[in-house]
């Protein structure tokens, strides 16, 4: 009974694991779908190309949906947030989880891409469990070239040439385009908030 961090080969999970442990989480890294069965929460991290999420095929999508059905909270970070959507222009043939309507797009404009560094989170008016105690316009660390559109479930927006969803929240589904594990004190607070959601859901 612990938080399952899904390792699907998309980059390095060391920082995510370290940050969760620092805020007192009991977690383990999993790479087979059966390990989701007794998870108290699911974390899908990941950096790099959207095509990496192809490893999270139909089996994973079904299992994650089933976990949500059992009341297990889900947090997608960076590529993990993008995976919550229907897909991405970065790998058009690879389907996302499709929980959130919309497709991710490449950031374009008269700016540097990838979007690397600290940018501000503009929070929406809805109450948020992930951002409890975190003021709007707090800084978070980003590193990505593709982004998710602003939709009804968007909890925070950030602008780099265009406005995109920097966080989404719907029921037990949470997503962060930035890296809470690299976002200093505010980031650790978000991870703590997610732990509270997990404890409340049990």
């Amino acid at each position: 009974m612990s938080i399952a961090v899904v390792d699907y080969g998309a980059g390095n999970l060391t920082s995510v694991v370290k940050a969760f442990r620092a805020v007192g989480a009991d977690l383990r890294v999993i790479s087979t779908v059966d390990d989701l069965n007794d998870a108290r929460a699911v974390v899908v991290p990941g950096v790099g190309h959207f095509s990496a999420t192809a490893s999270l095929g139909p089996e994973w999508r079904t299992a994650v949906q089933a976990a949500l059905g059992r009341g297990v909270p889900l947090l997608g970070i960076c590529l993990g947030l993008q995976w919550l959507f229907e897909g991405s222009a970065e790998a058009p043939d690879v389907p996302g989880l499709g929980l959130i309507a919309g497709r991710c797009f490449r950031i374009e404009g008269n700016i540097k891409v990838p979007h690397v560094g600290w940018n501000s989170l503009t929070l929406g008016a809805r109450p948020s469990r992930l951002f409890d105690g975190i003021p709007t316009e707090s800084s978070a660390y980003f590193t990505h070239s593709y982004a998710a559109p602003v939709v009804a479930d968007t909890m925070a927006t950030t602008t780099h040439a265009v406005a995109f969803s920097s966080a989404i929240e719907r029921g037990l589904v949470f997503g962060a385009q930035f890296h809470p594990e690299k976002s200093g004190r505010a980031g650790l607070k978000m991870l703590t908030n997610f732990l509270h959601v997990v404890q409340g859901a049990a």
């Binding site: 998309a10 891409v113 979007h115 990505h144 004190r185």
Partner: protein, 253 residues
Amino acid sequence: MLAKRLIACLDVRDGAVVKGINFQGLRNAGDPAELAARYNEEGIDELTVLDVTATLEGRRALLDTIRRVSQQLFIPLCVGGGIRSMDDARAIIDAGADKVSLNSAALAHPTLITTLSRIYGSQAVIVAIDAKRAHGTFEVFGRSGTTRDTREAADWAREAADRGAGEILLTSIDRDGTRSGFDCELTAAVSSAVQIPVIASGGAGTPEHFADVFSSGQADAALAASIFHFSEHAVRDLKLFLSERGVPMRLDW
């Protein structure tokens, strides 16, 4: 709005922080984990550990240093110096680094950039370019500034970006350790040549130098060592100064 980043560089030899003038004349400046913790408290945006040793003992000490530095650090950590292969990069990333910076190895084997960016993502691969003014151009040097390469700085930056680098760490050899200001012309030439972020390094001495490199140098981030090492509140004061000058800064740490 995306903030300009201030990056503190820890030049580490055999597990201790040192800082040289023009890559020579090293002197001791403290314990890396202690310094990292202090910078984090002061609001630094990112840390870079550059290993300036090449001995086997030094390399082992480096991995230990990375583990100690990254343990309580929840901001990005980049490590460079002496990374020759995929195995070197993997060991450093497994020890807790978020990014690796390649220099001589990328010059010798540019495909290493692509290999690493495919495994870890472009955001984890920084190509460090050491450049020097000569013959009306910016010449690239490898091996800690000792070996002239045939490439020109902006061309090499473009190639590195095409091959999958996520950022360029650009050091002016002429200015390194001199505290006489960043080479803004060099920085602007490289920054305008690529779409990926460019980190300016070499020559930081005063707050005005940072303001200059962010404006006329078009830098996305600036890296310095000694200006942060030897005075308390240096990071905070610098951030407030730059913010007052209209440079977007992260002020809520």
